[in-house]
C-alpha cells in the first residue's frame, strides 16, 4: 500500500464580499467540500476553469490560507499541528508567474539560499555548495549566482523558483500553473525538468493547470473542479478516454486538434 502524502477531507473556503457599508456581506464559497488524496510519488492534477477554486485550494494545502471547514493532512498530520518551519520543509510551491515570484531586489544566490537561512541550518559554510548543487540540478549555470531576476529569461526565472522550492528537499511540491506564463518551447523544458526531478528526488506533485496537454503529459491522476466543487476524479488515461461528468466532456472537447476534420471523422 502506498502511503498518503496529502489528504484533504471536506475542505471549505468562503470569501466574504462586502457589498457596501450598511449592506450585509455576501458569501462566496470558493472551495466547496473538496476531498482529495495524493499518494507518494503520484502527480495529481487539478483542472478547471479560471476562478473555480484551484489556486485557493493550493494555498490551503500550502498553509497560506486557513480553510473554513474540513481538514488537510500532510503525511498523516493535520496542517494546523505542523509548525511553520516544519511545514516549509514538507511542502513547497512553484508559482505561475516567474516574473512576480522572485524578489527583484535580491540576487539569485540569496533567493535560493533563503530557505536554508530561514530553517536556521546549522552549517552555513555548506550553503554555497548546496545552492550550487541545486542550481546545477535545475540547470542553472553557477555564474548566475550574483545576478538579479530581471537579468534572466522567463524559463531561467522559473528554474530559480524550482531551485528555491527544492533546496530543502520537500516531499510535496504544489505547482500552480508552472508553465502557463512561459513560451511553448520553454514550457516543455520546465515540464520535463519537473518530471525528472520527481523521479530523482521522489517528489509528490499536486499540479494545478487548465492546460489539458500539460495534464496528460504529467499527471497520474486528475481531479476536475467546477465552481468550487470536485466533479470528477479518475486516472489520467481513463479520464481522457471516458469522461463521466458533463463539464469534463466540455473541457475535453475544448482541446484544439491539429486537423479538426479528421478528428471529427474518427468520432
Amino acid at each position: 500500500m502506498t502511503d498518503l502524502m496529502v489528504e484533504a477531507t471536506g475542505v471549505i473556503k468562503d470569501y466574504k464580499i462586502s457589498q457596501g457599508l450598511f449592506r450585509g456581506k455576501e458569501i462566496l464559497r470558493a472551495v466547496d467540500k473538496v476531498s482529495l488524496s495524493v499518494s507518494r510519488g503520484e502527480t495529481l492534477a487539478i483542472v478547471g476553469e479560471s476562478g473555480c477554486g484551484k489556486t485557493t485550494l493550493a494555498k490551503i494545502m500550502l498553509g497560506l490560507l486557513e480553510p473554513d471547514g474540513g481538514v488537510v493532512k500532510l503525511c498523516g498530520k493535520p496542517l494546523n499541528e505542523i509548525s511553520r518551519l516544519e511545514l516549509a520543509k514538507l511542502v513547497q510551491p512553484i508559482f505561475q508567474d516567474p516574473y512576480s515570484s522572485l524578489n527583484p531586489r535580491k540576487t539569485i544566490g540569496s533567493i535560493i539560499t533563503l530557505p536554508l537561512k530561514v530553517q536556521g541550518d546549522l552549517s552555513p559554510e555548506t550553503w554555497k555548495q548546496r545552492v550550487l548543487t541545486t542550481m546545477d540540478l535545475v540547470g542553472l549555470p553557477s555564474r548566475m549566482l550574483e545576478q538579479f531576476p530581471n537579468q534572466l529569461s522567463g524559463g531561467q526565472r522559473q528554474r530559480v523558483a524550482i531551485a528555491r522550492a527544492l533546496i530543502n528537499r520537500p516531499k510535496i511540491v504544489i505547482c500552480d500553473e508552472p508553465t502557463s506564463a512561459l513560451d511553448v518551447s520553454v514550457q516543455s523544458q520546465i515540464l520535463n525538468l519537473l518530471n525528472e526531478l520527481r523521479k530523482e528526488l521522489e517528489l509528490t506533485y499536486v499540479l494545478i493547470s487548465h492546460n489539458l496537454a500539460v495534464v496528460e503529459h504529467m499527471a497520474t491522476r486528475v481531479a476536475v473542479m467546477y465552481f468550487g466543487k470536485k466533479v470528477e476524479e479518475a486516472e489520467t488515461e481513463q479520464l481522457f478516454k471516458n469522461p463521466k461528468h458533463d463539464y469534463t466532456k466540455t473541457l475535453l472537447d475544448s482541446i484544439l486538434v491539429p486537423d479538426p476534420r479528421s478528428a471529427r471523422k474518427n468520432n
Binding site: 494555498k59 500550502l62 498553509g63 497560506l64 511553520r84 518551519l85 511545514l87 516549509a88 520543509k89 511542502v91 513547497q92 510551491p93 508559482f95 505561475q96 508567474d97 512576480s100 515570484s101 522572485l102 524578489n103 527583484p104 531586489r105 535580491k106 533563503l114 530557505p115 530561514v118 530553517q119 540547470g139 549555470p141 548566475m144 550574483e146 545576478q147 538579479f148 530581471n150 537579468q151 534572466l152 529569461s153 524559463g155 531561467q156 523558483a161 528555491r164 523544458q189
Partner: protein, 293 residues
C-alpha cells in the same frame, strides 16, 4: 539548455555609475551638499556674526548695487546685521527642520502605512480612518494653534511638523505595500517559513523604499516651506535666530525699496527645495530595479 546571449554578458552597472550618469540627481546633490557644507561650517564661512547689530550700517544693499560694498556681499538688514552671515546660519535651521520633520513623519507614516497595507482588515480600517482624520485638518492652522499654545521654538516646530506631515507617507506606503503584498514572492517566502517581521524587512521594505525616499524628499521640502510660512507669520522660529522664512518675514515691510531683503532668502529657499526634489526624483530613477541593466 539554451542560454540567451543577453545573460552571458551581465551589464551590472553599479549604483555609483548610474548616480553619476543622472544629471538631475547630480545637480540636486551638488546644491544640497553645498548648502549642507555651508550649514556645517557656518562659524568658519560666515564673514560676520549673524547676531551682531550695527545700526549705523542698516539696509546696505548687496554688492551688485551701486551703493553696495564687498564688506557686506548680500548687504545688511534693518538692524545692520550681515545678510550673508544670516543666510549661512539660516541654512542650519532650514536643513534641521527639513530632515527632522521628514524623519519623524517618515517613521510614523511608514509604520502605519506598511502595517495597514500588509495586514489589511481591521488594522487597515484604523489606519485609513487616522489618515482621513489627519487629512481633514489644515496643517498650517493646526501648526499655528499648537505653536501659539506651546510657544514657538525650533524643537516645537520640528515636532509639530513631524507629527503633522505623515499623511502622505502613510498613504503612499499603504498602497505600495498592498501592491507588493500580492506578489508571489511574498507568498513564496511565507511558504518557505519566513516570519512576518522578516517578510516585512526583507521582502516588503526593499521594494517600497524607493517610494519612501521620494516622499521623504517631497516632505522635507514641504516642511522647509512650512517653517518659512510659520516664521513669516511670527509663530515659527523666534528672532533673533536666522531662519530663511523669518528673514523674508522681517524684510516684507521694506519689500518695495529694498527688494533684496526678500529675494535673497527666497531664492535660497527655492534652490534648496528644488535641489531636494531633483534628488528625490533621481534616487527613484536610480534605485528602480527595472533600470538596473
Amino acid at each position: 539548455m539554451t542560454i540567451e546571449p543577453s545573460s552571458t554578458t551581465p551589464k551590472s552597472s553599479s549604483v555609483y555609475t548610474r548616480f553619476v550618469g543622472h544629471q538631475g540627481v547630480m545637480v540636486g546633490a551638488f546644491i544640497v551638499l553645498s548648502i549642507f557644507v555651508l550649514a556645517l561650517f557656518a562659524p568658519i564661512l560666515a564673514p560676520h556674526d549673524p547676531y551682531n547689530q550695527d545700526l549705523l550700517a542698516r539696509l546696505i544693499p548687496p554688492v551688485w548695487d551701486s551703493r553696495g560694498s564687498w564688506e557686506h556681499i548680500f548687504g545688511t538688514d534693518h538692524l545692520g546685521r550681515d545678510y550673508l552671515s544670516r543666510l549661512i546660519y539660516g541654512a542650519r535651521i532650514s536643513l534641521l527642520i527639513g530632515f527632522g520633520a521628514a524623519i519623524i513623519s517618515g517613521l510614523i507614516g511608514t509604520i502605519m502605512g506598511v502595517m495597514a497595507g500588509y495586514f489589511g482588515g481591521r488594522v487597515d480600517m484604523v489606519v485609513t480612518f487616522l489618515i482621513t482624520v489627519r487629512l481633514s485638518m489644515p496643517v498650517v492652522l493646526v501648526a499655528l494653534a499648537v505653536v501659539a499654545i506651546v510657544g514657538g521654538s525650533l524643537q516645537v516646530v520640528v515636532m509639530v511638523l513631524g507629527l503633522l506631515l505623515w499623511d502622505r507617507f502613510a498613504v503612499v506606503m499603504r498602497t505600495s505595500t498592498l501592491q507588493i503584498r500580492s506578489m508571489d514572492y511574498v507568498a513564496a517566502s511565507q511558504a518557505v517559513g519566513c516570519s512576518t517581521p522578516r517578510i516585512l524587512m526583507t521582502e516588503i521594505m526593499p521594494n517600497v523604499v524607493n517610494n519612501l525616499i521620494v516622499i521623504a524628499t517631497l516632505e522635507m521640502a514641504h516642511a522647509i516651506i512650512l517653517e518659512a510660512a510659520l516664521s513669516f507669520l511670527g509663530l515659527g522660529v523666534q528672532p533673533p535666530l536666522p531662519s530663511w522664512g523669518l528673514m523674508v518675514s522681517e524684510g516684507k515691510d521694506m519689500m518695495l525699496f529694498e527688494p533684496w531683503l526678500i529675494t535673497i532668502p527666497g531664492v535660497a529657499l527655492f534652490l534648496l527645495v528644488l535641489a531636494i526634489n531633483l534628488m528625490g526624483d533621481g534616487v527613484r530613477d536610480i534605485t528602480a530595479p527595472e533600470n538596473r541593466n
